[in-house]
């Protein structure tokens, strides 16, 4: 995160360079930890669970957007933006709900793993997005961790996280 903040400078979270290096760093750490062998059927089921999880995450924002007649952004630049968003979201999940979750779960159980990864998720976002988002991000982390625990695969939180971020384009 320090690397991301330093690379981003005044561009903050809008910096693509900082975002890609942030994702690469998370991916490398996740790669350094042995990956589990998950059956393909569980991964596919996890992706479906992730879609439901994304719907839950988007619901409050969608309701607010509809109630206030929110701004609808043009789609110029969406694909480029979406590519970076998905890379960052999946990299975060690979490390937090993938490697870190598995390590903590093996030692202390799923509930502790959800708690640890949720706090890490909240703190991870504070330097770029401000401390005001930490309570919500911890709650979102608990939701993503629950998806991981219930589905047994990181595919569920990865899909939920990425889809919710992508939907943000239309829900601002």
């Amino acid at each position: 995160m320090a690397l991301r903040v330093r690379l981003a400078g005044p561009a903050g979270a809008r910096s693509e360079t900082a975002a890609i290096w942030f994702a690469v760093t998370l991916g490398l750490v996740a790669l350094a930890i042995q990956q589990p062998d998950v059956p393909r059927a569980r991964v596919l089921r996890g992706m479906l669970v992730g879609l439901v999880g994304a719907a839950v995450l988007c619901l409050p924002a969608a309701l607010r957007h509809l109630a206030l007649g929110g701004y609808v952004a043009p789609t110029d630049g969406y694909l480029r933006w979406a590519g970076f968003v998905v890379v960052v979201a999946v990299a975060e999940e690979a490390l937090l709900r993938g490697s870190l979750f598995r390590l903590v779960e093996a030692r202390a159980g799923a509930v502790v793993a959800i708690a640890v990864t949720s706090v890490a998720f909240g703190l991870l976002h504070a330097p770029v997005y401000g401390w005001g988002v930490v309570p919500l991000d911890i709650a979102v982390g608990v939701w993503l961790g629950t998806l991981r625990a219930v589905s047994g695969t990181v595919a569920a939180p990865a899909v939920a996280h990425a889809v919710a971020d992508l939907a943000g384009w239309w829900l601002r």
């Binding site: 924002a61 309570p135 979102v140 608990v142």
Partner: protein, 258 residues
Amino acid sequence: MVVAVNRPARLVTAALLLLAVGWSVAPRSALPLYDGIGFPDEPYRFVQRPTGAQETQPPTSARGSAAIKGGTSDPLVAASAEVAPQLSVFIPKGRLTAPAGAPKITVTGAPVAAVPTGRGQYLWSNVYDVRISPAGAALKTGGQQATITLRSASAQRPQPHIAYYANGRWVLMPTFAQGQDIYIAELTTFGKFAVLGGNPLLVTKVSSGKSGSSGGTTVGLFVGIGVGVVVVVLFALGWLRRARARAEAPAEEESAET
């Protein structure tokens, strides 16, 4: 067995409750998550463009009206036309009082010339003059918060504050970041508002353009993408190796049995 069946349901219920609490205490945000990279908003439109800032159209004003029905005001939203809006004001239902007979209340916010700041304070946005009409209309106290949201010309840190101008000085308001360069505060009065930072505004031509790989160099971006591809390939190779080992394992077991 009962525990095994009920545990996921309990986890999901607890997580949903926590999520509801998170939403209720969070800054009034439209984003499901604060993540990925920031939305590619158009460059900031300055009233007085600082050196180095991108040339743009002039900033726009915000205007919104709320009908008065049975003495109660409808919700009011006023937002400027930039992408994303540089100013927006939200006043919930019933928070406005109107003079007798007034059918509606209007709130406007116009970009105006910069107002001098105190020592250690720097303008990170235009100054917006937010007014309410007709005369006699006002904000009521109590009820759901009315908010003012201002976009900063930069996402630099430390986090700035929204401030209002009163009695010849800027008064900092409790402010929350809403993403990367958009800030929100409770609206309790009308007048002049701006985003004030504790250090000089850093402006680059690519700081918020649609075309830019902002923050960092193009070389850094491409090297990052290259290394990212290598990481993905390593993940894929590991997965293939495990899949192959899994496929071979039963065959070995079979041959051992025979």
